[in-house]
């Protein structure tokens, strides 16, 4: 049943399990309880999922209100299409450690890039937004 035919409405997605990708790169999974015209979302039984390589970890977060401007993508999770064969779930401590290592490696390559450019007399201005997408 479509309340507003011809629009990309989220009204049919309410009370279903969803995955939302945020602009800072975070992934939240939970039940969508409320929406509005700005795509502000209210999530219930939210879990923040951190992906590093083929491993992932879930951190329970409770009830979340996401401001619409930070939403990149919202996808309905299909329970039949679960992916336990490819991804491996690990404990929270382990995934946080993996994430820390990944951040360190990324910072190292960034630093190497900046010094290489500096040696050639070029410079890329640092972006002041922390968006991943």
């Amino acid at each position: 049943m479509n309340y507003m035919p011809g629009t990309a409405s989220l009204i049919d997605d309410i009370d279903k399990k969803h995955l939302v990708l945020l602009r800072d790169g975070r992934t939240l999974i939970g039940f969508l309880r409320s929406i509005d015209q700005f795509a502000n979302l209210v999530f219930h039984q939210t879990v923040e999922r951190i992906h590093v390589g083929k491993k992932f970890g879930d951190i329970p977060r409770g009830i979340f209100i996401v401001r619409g401007e930070n939403v990149v993508l919202l996808g309905e999770i299909d329970v039949d299409k679960l992916c336990d064969n490819v991804l491996q779930q690990v404990s929270i401590e382990e995934i946080l450690e993996e994430q820390r290592l990944q951040q360190q490696a990324k910072q190292k390559t960034e630093k190497a890039k900046v010094t290489a450019l500096k040696d050639r007399g070029l410079s890329i201005p640092k972006a002041d937004n922390l968006d991943e997408y």
Binding site: G6, T7, R23, H51, E69, V71, L73, G75, E76
Partner: protein, 85 residues
């Protein structure tokens, strides 16, 4: 309904899917999505349909054979002339 619905589109070189609906903000709803690089974006494995906020979309690639570029050019030219008057 929008004439593009049912076409296969590629959004920002990342997500391919069938266009389900679009709204005034150019928010996009796609069905049967596939990610171009599943290794880089593993979270999308269990997602079949998605809603993409219009403000984050950079490009939308449409099937080339479905678009009549000649007609589009003429219509755009006419509209530009009307706007000038």
């Amino acid at each position: 309904m929008c004439p593009l619905c049912g076409w296969d589109v590629l959004v920002s070189y990342l997500i391919c899917g069938t266009l389900h609906s679009v709204d005034q903000y150019l928010n996009i709803k796609l069905t049967d999505i596939s990610v171009t690089d599943p290794e880089k974006y593993p979270h999308m494995l269990s997602v079949k349909n998605c809603f993409i906020r219009g403000s984050v979309v950079r490009y939308v690639q449409l099937p080339a054979d479905e678009v009549d570029t000649q007609l589009l050019q003429d219509a755009a030219r006419k509209e530009a002339l009307q706007q000038k008057q």
